[in-house]
Structure formats: C-alpha cells, structure tokens
C-alpha cells in the first residue's frame, strides 16, 4: 500500500507548518501540498487528487466549507477533514450537509487529529461527540428550528455564498467579479439576489450575516 497523500489548507503559516510536522511524524503519511486559501486548496486537490484534504474553516477568498463543497464535486474520493477554531452547532450542521465526514476543533487537534486522519484513511467518519449529538438531533427533526432565524431564509447558492464572503471581506463587486472570473454585471446580479433572499439592504447587514453564519471570521 502506498503512502497516504494529504493536503493541508490553512491561511496561518505557523499552523500549516505545525500540522505538517504533526502529520509527517506518522509513518506512511505524506503531505503532498499546502494551500493558504480555499480556492488554492480546491485547485491543488483537482490537480493532485490527494487521499485527504485538511481544511481550515476560515480562509480568505474561499472559506473551508465552500472549498469542501467544490472538492466534493471535483474529487469525490478525497476525504475531507474540517478544522475550526471554535465549536459551533450551526457549523456542524453545515459541515454535515456538505457531506464532509471529518470535523476537529483545533484545540482538540493534539488528541483528535491523528485519529481523525486514520479514520478517514479507511473511509470512515470522524466526528467529535458534540458533532454526533447535532447529527442525531438533526435526524430527530430538530434541525432548522425557529431559534435559527437564518434557517427560515431562502437558501443561497454556492456561488452566492462565495460572493457573500468576498463582499464581507471588503471587496467591491468589481473586485469580487475579478476574483471569481465573472463579469461585473453578473457579480452585481448575484449581489442583488443575495440581498433579496436574505431580506437585507446594506453591506454592514451582509457582514453581520456572514459572521453569524461563519462565512467569515469576526
């Protein structure tokens, strides 16, 4: 059996170095690529088709969750492990919905990271006990409850979520269009659709939505 090929995506250089050192200490595991944005991670996964992609949730331009959605399409055999700084029920719901089967909170990574990678290498899920609890409560119908106001709003498409992230990072429609390789007119149409779907009227409200839904970090 060949080496387990892993990609690490985190915008923090020190975290990438540390994760690399932690994982490379395991015999038979090889870090084949590193990325510091979600878009770079997706592009490298498409090129290298690693066995496992470890994605930080908060990365510029394209966050970990959106990168995971893209990777699921372009390389369905690549198992994805999401790392997040903080635990969040909403985030776990989004992760599970994306079809990702591995989730580790960074503060538990010393304990959980190697176990999670081992599980995913065998195409088995690794979820923290909290994530399992959220999954089970989702199965029993508690998902999308009334205490989650965003659950009632019309769903955004993947491209719309990318636009939300870029606008919340302070980019203009023109800059967002340039990052995504689309026309300004298309970016502005997406922007108008996002505002309509979410029922909001300003960029500051959009930023609040993005922070609340962990599309960007506060």
């Amino acid at each position: 059996m060949g080496a387990l090929r892993i990609l690490i995506a985190d915008d923090h250089d020190l975290m990438r170095r540390g994760l690399k050192s932690l994982l490379e200490a395991h015999p038979g595991w090889e870090i084949v690529a590193e990325a510091h944005t979600g878009a770079e991670a997706a592009a490298k996964v498409e090129e290298l088709k690693p066995d496992i992609a470890i994605l930080d949730i908060t990365m510029p331009e394209l966050n970990g969750l959106e990168a995971a959605r893209r990777i699921r399409k372009i390389s369905p055999r690549t198992e994805i492990l999401i790392l997040s700084m903080h635990y969040s029920d909403k985030l776990i719901r989004d992760i599970l919905e994306t079809g990702v089967r591995g989730y580790v909170v960074k503060s538990d990574s010393d304990r959980d990271l190697v176990i999670a990678v081992e599980a995913l290498a065998n195409h088995k899920p690794f979820l923290t006990p909290q994530a399992t609890e959220v999954m089970l409560s989702g199965l029993s119908g508690a998902r999308g409850s009334l205490d989650d106001p965003d659950a009632l709003k019309e769903r955004l498409t993947s491209r719309e979520r990318e636009i939300v992230q870029l606008l919340s990072e302070g980019k203009s429609s023109k800059e967002a269009a340039s990052v995504l390789g689309i026309s300004i007119k298309t970016a502005e149409t997406h922007r108008a659709n996002i505002m309509r779907k979410l029922g909001i009227h300003s960029v500051s409200e959009l930023v609040r939505y993005a922070v609340r839904n962990q599309i960007v970090e506060a």
């Binding site: 923090h12 250089d13 170095r17």
Partner: protein, 142 residues
C-alpha cells in the same frame, strides 16, 4: 505591513546571538500542539533555541522559573491559567525574562492590557511570521 524579510531578520538574530555568545533561549506557551510545533520549527529556523514548551499559563510560569529563558512567547487564551495572568506572574517572579504576547486577535483591549501589565511585545498570529520575528528581535535587543 512589515517589509523586512525573514532572511534579514534571521541574520540580525544571528548577529545578536554572536554578541550574546549563544542563541537566545525561547519558551513557547500555547495550548495548540500544532501551533507549538510550527513555532518551534520557525524559531529554530531563525537561529533561536527553543528551551521548552508549555500548554497552559500555569505551566508557562513554572517552566520560566525552572528554565530561565531569555524570552517567552505567550498565547493569551489558554486553559488553567490565561496569558495575562501568566504574564503578571512571570514579570513578578522572573523580571529579567522578556515576554512577547502572541495572540489570534488584536484589539484595543488586548493592546491596552499588555501595555498596562508591562509585557515587552505583542504580535498577531494572523500576520506574517516576519512580524513575530521582528518583534522578538526588537525585544531581545532592548
């Protein structure tokens, strides 16, 4: 933005090591093992010597007293004892040791508190590594 390259900082750190007759000894205190590993590799790569690691503030205080490092890199949010409390104790029991707070989020509150306590330097995790190395170099040269 810090425009000084990591290579230039490395050479300055090597010069101050030559002046001191030995590399500066650094204690790393952060509750994330992956980040400690990353920091250790970066410090060693810059010609500094990592003499110890701590996973919480209490351990940071104990290891500072035991190992007498030249400088402690101190995370703020750690279990058992946070970075601010650890900084206060270190400044009291080992006042010769320099402290650089290394935090995820920079805010006015964090800047004010580090200044009030008398911490020697502050660097933010999301900024390039050269900022941390530059801060360490400045603090060690004081």
């Amino acid at each position: 933005m810090n425009l000084i390259s990591t290579e230039a900082l490395k050479s300055e750190l090597e010069e101050s090591a030559a002046d001191r007759g030995r590399p500066a000894r650094i204690l790393i205190a952060d509750d994330h093992e992956a980040l400690r590993r990353g920091l250790k590799a970066a410090m060693t790569g810059a010609g500094l010597q990592v003499c110890g690691e701590a996973a919480n503030g209490k351990e940071a205080v104990e290891k500072t007293i035991e190992l007498e490092p030249d400088l402690v890199i101190l995370d703020l949010s750690m279990p058992v004892m946070g970075g601010f409390d650890a900084a206060r104790e270190i400044l009291q029991s080992a006042p010769q040791v320099k402290i650089v707070v290394f935090t995820m989020h920079e805010s006015r509150q964090v800047r004010d508190e580090t200044a009030r306590i008398g911490v020697h330097g502050l660097a933010v995790k999301s900024e390039p590594l050269s900022n941390l190395l530059g801060t360490i170099q400045t603090v060690l040269g004081e």
